[in-house]
C-alpha cells in the first residue's frame, strides 16, 4: 500500500524537533513505528527554561491548571486546550516524567508552583525539573539569590528585590537577598550559561563556588542559583553542591538563551528517540506535500543540492508557530504555512495584526492552524485537509502561550495526542 514492493519507507515523518515533535516521535518509535524527524535546525527547546507550564494566567492567576482547564476550554473554544481533555494532559505529563531519564521532573497539573524568574517574578509552572522546584515561593523560607560575576544573563540584585516585593504583594513575604560570586578570578570575563554549566561539571570549580556560598549563606536560607549547574551530570552536580554547602539549592532559569535546562531536556528526549530507533535529519526543510492521486504520500524535503520527495504513511507537523517559522507572515501581511501548504487561521492582509501597545492582546498572537479533535489540520469547511496529516505544538493556533504560560502544556499534550491518533490508525 505504500510505495513499490519491497519499499522500506518510514511510517511517519515528523517535521520539527521541538517539544511537541520529539514527544510524538518518541511515542511512535517506542511503539515500533519507523520514524524520521526532519528539522530545519536544532529545536527551540534549547531556548526554553524547560519548565512545563500548563496554564498560569487566564489572565487572573491559576492555582490549579487541572481544575481551571475545563472552564478555560469552554471559554476559549478556539484554544488547543479545547481539544485536550484533562486526562490526556495528565497522561502526557506522566509520560514525560518517565521519559526524561535522570533529568527528573516534579509536580503535576493539580497545582502550580510559583518559581522565580531571573528578574524575580514568581512564575506559575505546574511541572518543573527537580533542580528548580526548591524555588517555589509558596513554600520557600528566606532566599539567598546568588549570581556569578561572569554571567551577564542573571542578575541577583534585581531578582531578589522583585521577588521580595512580589511575594509581599501575594501575602506571603519571602525574604530574598542577593550575592555575587566570583569563583574563577583568572578566566574570561564573559561566560555564557552553557560555558558555566561545563565548568560546574568540574569538581574544583564546584568547590570554589561552594566555599563562597558557605561564607555568604545565613541561617535557614535556601540558595537560588542560575540554571547552570551542569549539563550531562546535572543531577549529581546539584546534589553534590547542596551537600558541600549544607543548604538546599535550586536553579532559576537564566534570562536569555541559551538555556541550560532546555538543552538538558532536548538532549534527554533526543537520546530517548535515538535509542527507540528514531532517525534525525537536521538542516533539511519541508517545502511542500508530496501528493499521489491527490493523497498525501510524503513530504518534499530540501537538503543540500536538491528537493527530494520523502514518502511515508503519516506526517506530524510540529514546525512551531510564528517564532519558529512554522507560520510565516510576508510583507503584504499574508499568513501562511509552507511545509504542507495548509490553510492558516489569522488576520489577513489589510486586517489589523498588531496593536500599538506592547502588552496588548494582538490579533496575530493566535495565528495558526485549526485542527479537528484528532489534531488533523482542517480547511475552512472544518474537514481535515489530509486524513494522514497531524499537527502538534505551536503551529496550532488559538493560544497566547506567553501570556497564559501554556506553551509547554500545549506542546506536550498535542504531541502526545497526535501520536495517539496515529497509533490508533496503525492498529
Amino acid at each position: 500500500m505504500n510505495g513499490p514492493p519491497g519499499a522500506r519507507y518510514p511510517d511517519v515523518i515528523v517535521l520539527g524537533a521541538g517539544l511537541s515533535g520529539l514527544v510524538a516521535a518518541i511515542r511512535l518509535a517506542e511503539a515500533g513505528l519507523r520514524v524520521v524527524t526532519v528539522a530545519k535546525g536544532y529545536g527551540s527547546m534549547r531556548l526554553s527554561p524547560a519548565t512545563i507550564d500548563i496554564l498560569g494566567y487566564r489572565p487572573d492567576p491559576v492555582d490549579s491548571p487541572a481544575q481551571a482547564l475545563p472552564g478555560f476550554a469552554a471559554a476559549h473554544p478556539e484554544h488547543p486546550y479545547a481539544l485536550i481533555g484533562p486526562d490526556t494532559l495528565a497522561d502526557s505529563v506522566q509520560w514525560l516524567k518517565e521519559h526524561v531519564g535522570t533529568y527528573a521532573y516534579v509536580g503535576d497539573p493539580g497545582e502550580n508552583m510559583l518559581l522565580p524568574t531571573a528578574i524575580g517574578v514568581p512564575r506559575p509552572s505546574a511541572v518543573a525539573p527537580e533542580t528548580m522546584a526548591g524555588g517555589d515561593v509558596r513554600r520557600a523560607g528566606p532566599l539567598l539569590i546568588a549570581g556569578l560575576g561572569v554571567l551577564k544573563d542573571f542578575h541577583p540584585s534585581i531578582a531578589a528585590e522583585n521577588l521580595q516585593a512580589a511575594t509581599t504583594a501575594y501575602g506571603r513575604a519571602v525574604q530574598a537577598r542577593p550575592v555575587m560570586l566570583h569563583p574563577s578570578a583568572n578566566g574570561p570575563a564573559d561566560v555564557n550559561s552553557l560555558g558555566l554549566a561545563r565548568q560546574f561539571e568540574d569538581g574544583a570549580f564546584r568547590s570554589a563556588v561552594a566555599a563562597e556560598l558557605r561564607a555568604a549563606v545565613r541561617g535557614e536560607e535556601t540558595i537560588g542559583l542560575p540554571a547552570v549547574l551542569g549539563m550531562d551530570q546535572a543531577r549529581s552536580v546539584w546534589t553534590e553542591l547542596q551537600q558541600a554547602v549544607g543548604r538546599p539549592v535550586f536553579e532559576i532559569p537564566t534570562a536569555v538563551p541559551p538555556s541550560v535546562p532546555g538543552m538538558r531536556l532536548a538532549r534527554a528526549l533526543q537520546d530517548r528517540l535515538r535509542r527507540a530507533g528514531g532517525r534525525f535529519v537536521f538542516g533539511a526543510q519541508a517545502v511542500g506535500p508530496e501528493l499521489r492521486n491527490g493523497k498525501l504520500a510524503g513530504v518534499r524535503i530540501r537538503s543540500a543540492a536538491r528537493v527530494t520527495p520523502r514518502m511515508c504513511r503519516w506526517v506530524v507537523l510540529a514546525t512551531g508557530g510564528l517564532g519558529a517559522g512554522g507560520i510565516e507572515v510576508d510583507l503584504s501581511g499574508a499568513v501562511s504555512e509552507h511545509s504542507l501548504g495548509l490553510p492558516v487561521h489569522a488576520p489577513g492582509p489589510g486586517e489589523t495584526g498588531f496593536l500599538p501597545g506592547y502588552l496588548s492582546d494582538h490579533p496575530m498572537d493566535t495565528a495558526g492552524l485549526r485542527v479537528d479533535h484528532t489534531l488533523r489540520p482542517v480547511g475552512p469547511d472544518g474537514e481535515p485537509v489530509y486524513p494522514n496529516a497531524y499537527a502538534a505544538g505551536a503551529v496550532i493556533g488559538g493560544a497566547r502561550p506567553w501570556r497564559e504560560k501554556s506553551g509547554d502544556g500545549i506542546s506536550l499534550s498535542t504531541g502526545y495526542l497526535a501520536a495517539d491518533a496515529i497509533l490508533k490508525e496503525a492498529g
Partner: protein, 408 residues
Amino acid sequence: MTAEQEFDFIRDSLDHCVKCTICETACPVAAVTPLFPGPKYEGPQAERLRGAGPSVDASLDYCSSCGICTLACPQGVHVAEINSRARAVMKQQHGIPIRDQLIARPPLQGKLGTPVAPLANFVLSNRLARLVAEKTVGIHRNAPVPKFAGRTFRSWARRHPAPATAGTRRVAYFHGCSTNYFEPGLGEKAVAVLAHNGCRVVLPRQECCGLPLQSNGIFDSARSYVRRLVAGLAPYARQGYTIVATSTSCGLMLKREAREILGVEDDDLRVVSSQTYDICEFLADLDLAGELKTDFQPVPLTVTYHAPCQQQGHNIGKPALDLLGLIPELTVIELDRACCGIAGTYGLKREKYDIAMQVGSGLFGDIRAAEPDLAVCDSETCRWQITHGTGRTSVHPVEVMYRAYGLS
C-alpha cells in the same frame, strides 16, 4: 539567479538571525576554547560590522569550518558560509602562510609522495622530521597526516575496467584525492559494492575539488579547481549518470559549498550538483525503494558510527546507520558527537592542534568506552583523526558493507 545574487543570498541569510544562540551551543570549537568567540558572533553578528575596509577580527581564524552552526541554525542562517567567506578576505589581506598553501593541495602532495611512498612515509613518521616540519611550516608534530599508499586508485581502476555488460544503473564515481593517493582500497571496495548493486561504474577524469584550498581561504585557486572538476563530471551528469562520492566532504563541495562559499555558479556545476550523491545516501535511497541487495552475510562485530560534520552538511540524516542496520549480527553504536576536531586541515596546524584534539576528546572517549572492533566514519580525515585519537582502526561504512556482501 546570477552568481553575484546567489553570493548575496548566502550572506543575506544573516537577516534571518534572531540571535537565539543555538549555533553557539552547538559549536564544537567554542566549547573548548575562549579564543573563538563563537559562530553567532563571527557570523551574522560581526558581518554587519564588516565594511569594505581591512579585516579586523583575527579571532575568526579559529573557526574550523565544520559547518555545525549552519546545520543547527533553526532560522536558516548560513553561518559557516558567512564565516568562511569573511575568513578568506582576512587571509587574502594578511597573507596565506606557506603551510596553508601546501596542505591545501592534495594532488601536489599525492603526485610528489606516491612514487616515493616509503621514503615519504618514513619522513612523515619520523619524529625529528616532524619537529622540523612543525618549526618551519607549522604542521603540528603529532598531527594525523595520512600515509601514501604507494599506488593510486586510478592505476588499479585502469587495470580493472567494468565489464561492458555490468549493471543498468549508470554511476560516475567521484573518488577524490584521498582515495586516489592514500586509501585506494576504499575506492576498490566502493566500486565492488556499487557493482554488486547493479551499477555500471565509470571513472571520469578528475582532480581535486578545491575544498582544502577553500577551507584555507585560497578562493581563487579553489574556484579554478572546482570548475575544472565539474567540467569533467558534467558530461556524465548530462548523460544521466549519478555522481557518487565516497569522500563526503568533497561531495558536499559539489553539492553546495562551491556555490554557497566560493560563489561559483555555472551550468556544469548546477547539473553536477543536482546529481551528486554521497555513497551512503545513494545506497540508502536504493534501500528505501526496495532495490538494495540485502544478501548480507553476518558480520559479528561491534562498530561505532560517527557521522562527521561534513556528512551532516548534506542534510540527509545518517543513511549509513540504516545501511549498517541491515547487516546481520553487526552491532552498531551511534555516537552523538558533532565533530572529531580535524575539520579537514584545521587540526594539522600547530596553533590549532590542541583545540582539535580537545574538540575530538568527547568522541574519542565515547569510542574508547564502546571498545568497538571498528570505528566507522564517512570522512577520510576524520578516520585518520579518530585512529590518532583512539588507536582504533577506522573504516568507511561501505568497507563494512563490502565485507558483509562477501566481496573480498
